[in-house]
Symmetry: C2
Subunit: 327 residues, 2 copies
């Protein structure tokens, strides 16, 4: 592997000149530039990344911590992050935490080792104070999910308003028996959605029976199970809001399994607008999240902090209530 030294020798200049050419420092004579470039070409030279990093204290790497890859919700977000990172000559180190404190902590240790310049967390499980401690040395941005009372910068949609709008839509369609299948986690996305849901019911003077607010996880199975539960009520709901499209798909399956029909007997609204929502029958009404843009924005926020620019603590991107066939 050719080094800067080799290039310098072949070109008959000093390593400093080669370095200048590599970094487009413009005080190099055309003649030298020419010779250096020829040598680089000839030796097929690429600067060693570790030495650059060591010397300049900059890795041009961003650490992404995600719960797991196998949830399609993350796909477009990661694409957005990758796209914005590439545009700025950064690379992504992506690692999974599986919701484990140890794994997340271990991932973030890359920051201390200066293997990455900053991190973006998609579902942080560490405590705010621990994260804040790390953030004080290496910038962190939270994307989509963040814990309530977080002092770290984050980007997401306005989950409160989004869920409020979904409920309002249902109410305007004439529904009075509206249930919600939420999540047991403690992310802001969840609590905000529940709050928005409550707000709409309150505002339109609609009661919420105790067992109309169920909590599970984000899976199809959870949606199926909770919907069966809802349907077993003496007075089942006529509409339900699910915490994700995957959960909503489970609801659809449950409705079908009970010999009922959506939206005739019961309406369903999902969350996220993932591809699945247009692949099933009936096509899902859902709250669309600008996933690609969420990823792009998270990277931009992090780069802004890295470049010492003013950092926005909190960005809400626009969501959209997409009405299709299930409501």
């Amino acid at each position: 592997m050719a080094s800067i030294q080799d290039v310098a020798e072949l070109a008959g200049v000093s390593v400093a000149t080669v370095s200048r050419v590599m970094n487009n420092s413009n005080n190099v004579s055309p003649k030298s530039t020419q010779k250096v470039q020829a040598a680089i070409e000839k030796l097929n030279y690429s600067p060693n990344w570790a030495s650059k990093n060591l010397r300049s204290k900059k890795s041009n790497m961003i650490l992404i911590v995600i719960p797991e890859f196998s949830n399609p919700f993350w796909g477009d977000i990661l694409d957005g992050m990758d796209q914005e990172a590439q545009r700025n000559h950064y690379k992504l180190i992506i690692t999974t935490s599986h919701g484990s404190v140890d794994q997340e902590r271990s991932a973030l240790s890359m920051l201390k080792q200066q293997q990455a310049d900053g991190a973006i967390l998609l579902s942080p499980v560490l405590t705010q104070s621990e994260l804040a401690g790390i953030d004080s040395r290496h910038p962190i941005v939270q994307c989509c999910e963040y814990t309530e009372n977080s002092t770290l910068p984050h980007v997401s949609i306005d989950n409160y308003t989004a869920c409020y709008e979904a409920a309002e839509h249902l109410i305007r369609m004439g529904h009075k028996k509206i249930a919600m299948i939420s999540s047991t986690n403690h992310f802001s996305s969840t609590t905000q959605r529940e709050l928005g849901f409550h707000k709409a019911l309150l505002q339109y003077d609609i009661a919420l029976p105790e067992n109309y607010l169920l909590r599970g996880n984000y899976s199809f199975g959870s949606g199926y199970e909770k919907m069966r539960l809802l349907l077993s009520n003496p007075v089942p709901p006529s509409a339900v809001i699910a915490i994700s499209d995957t959960v909503a798909a489970g609801c659809l399956a449950a409705i079908d399994s009970c010999g009922l029909s959506c939206p005739k007997d019961i309406s369903v609204i999902g969350f996220d607008n993932i591809q699945l929502s247009t692949m099933i029958h009936p096509k899902l009404s859902t709250i669309s999240q600008p996933r690609n843009q969420l990823g792009v924005t998270a990277v931009q926020m992090l780069l802004d902090r890295l470049n010492g620019n003013m950092d926005s603590r909190q960005i809400f991107l626009p969501h959209e209530l997409v009405i299709r066939q299930s409501s």
Copy 2:
């Protein structure tokens, strides 16, 4: 950020001793070890990763090149890779190529810069000779997709047999008008599947009308469109094999849109067994790929090469024909 120097000073030993402790070299006295560990603890020391890398010529990074994140097929594979990488103290740099030669080439330049020790490609677009050239300096493994005549190591299922079995299943169910919606790409997975398909028809003496073999991409839309085409035939097929579950889902939608019913009027078999296949109605019959294990194995193969162990050029993992409702 504390350095090895700081630790050495605080512990009252030399940096060499600290290094030995860090690397569990056992010729350090308990007393020194003790002192060093105390100092490490006190300074919250983590070894700088760039300097380690520079000195040892080893990054403990694996480069993963993927077409894009937003295809759910990759999710479980990436999870498998991540899991096996973590187990071996490697990290994953994951980047997308979007099928672009330039992007793939640029990604692979990380190898030359010694930013990663080796690479795993999920849908290589560079020519075999270019890849072979890179591989001669830094090991590369291909996972799932690889071009015919590839000399690089790869892991995948036996696509030929898999598709043969799917066709045979259909034939045994009594179908004689069997179509296939394949892909326009030139990956081995595609050509092998088509070959297996042909083999089964040939063996059971079933004719393949020219327009019964269509080619598109892996999308829902493509499946929908091609199925409509198939259905517009004077003599439409009674069964179809789709190149992916997403395509198969498109087929289902097309069948429905024509007022036909699956599997009553027409049977469908997909490929991959992604989550979607059990979320739609009818549940998809499909060829299941051990995606997690494909990821795990790809990483193992790469690490084997990195460790100078015998390298297996070609590994086929077992697939499974899963019969559900659509056939």
